[in-house]
Symmetry: C2
Subunit: 132 residues, 2 copies
Amino acid sequence: MLKITRKVEYALIALRHMQSKDVDELTSAKEIANQYGIPQQLLAKTLQQMARDNILEAVQGPAGGYRILAKLDRISLKDFFEKLEGPLGMMDCYFDSDCIQIGACNIRTPIQRINDNMRNMFAQMTLQEVTQ
Amino acid sequence: MLKITRKVEYALIALRHMQSKDVDELTSAKEIANQYGIPQQLLAKTLQQMARDNILEAVQGPAGGYRILAKLDRISLKDFFEKLEGPLGMMDCYFDSDCIQIGACNIRTPIQRINDNMRNMFAQMTLQEVTQ
DNA sequence: AATATATACGACATTATTAATCGTATATAG
DNA sequence: CTATATACGATTAATAATGTCGTATATATT
Ligand code: FES
Ligand code: FES
């Protein structure tokens, strides 16, 4: 439990890889996939999603690829996680209130407190710190 | 991602339920399962595990059940989670070092830093705070 | 002693989620 | 025109979480 997904892992690997390059140099999904042993298509989809989220810029065609578009020190880890994986809740009923026992439940409030702590922690770390 | 398991959720519900009772009063798995709509057998196994971990005391036979044994203000959420679900790592390779790309990986150190933050956060909260 | 009810626990089955692949379309450098 | 790259929905595979079953043991009650 409390694991991050491979998607996020791959995204971080890719960002860190690009960070170590010249700012407007392009990196293809293939290059990263090969270097780190990541399934290329899966990585590509993740990079595409990051492009939709304006974290990366994509350039099509041969010699195309991706480069970092956003200011990584302006994006919190919380926002990054939520962009990729949706709302961050330790339990499903943190957001959805269609939980069967929403009435009987005796831990909803305490869990929300823990969850707030967690979200707060991730809100205070930037992508820059992780990938620099 | 970053979800807690139902096992942990059920354990917290059970603890909170018992906390609201007299200290040496016994509570059966059945009682809790019925009241909160939890699968009885699954809950029972979780309570048994907590008994093995000396968080609860179990009493067999009819009119048996469980009661809180440990001082909940002495058990951190981190220890509680790890008792129930094993080592707390956001990625598998935080503990196991049999990761394929342990050499090539460029995010191992940063991820460990995030993970340390998370473990630290859970180490600073006690079970008491959650279930009181 | 017999019975009913509770814990104890390994093995199995089911379900949900995550991870990976496939197929097809579009863009563009050479 | 061709090779190579992104774009992306649909599908399958793999893994992990969740739930159930079967059986054993303890013990209060009758
Ligand atoms: S389990 Fe859904 S509200 Fe508590
Ligand atoms: S992915 Fe395993 S060490 Fe980074």
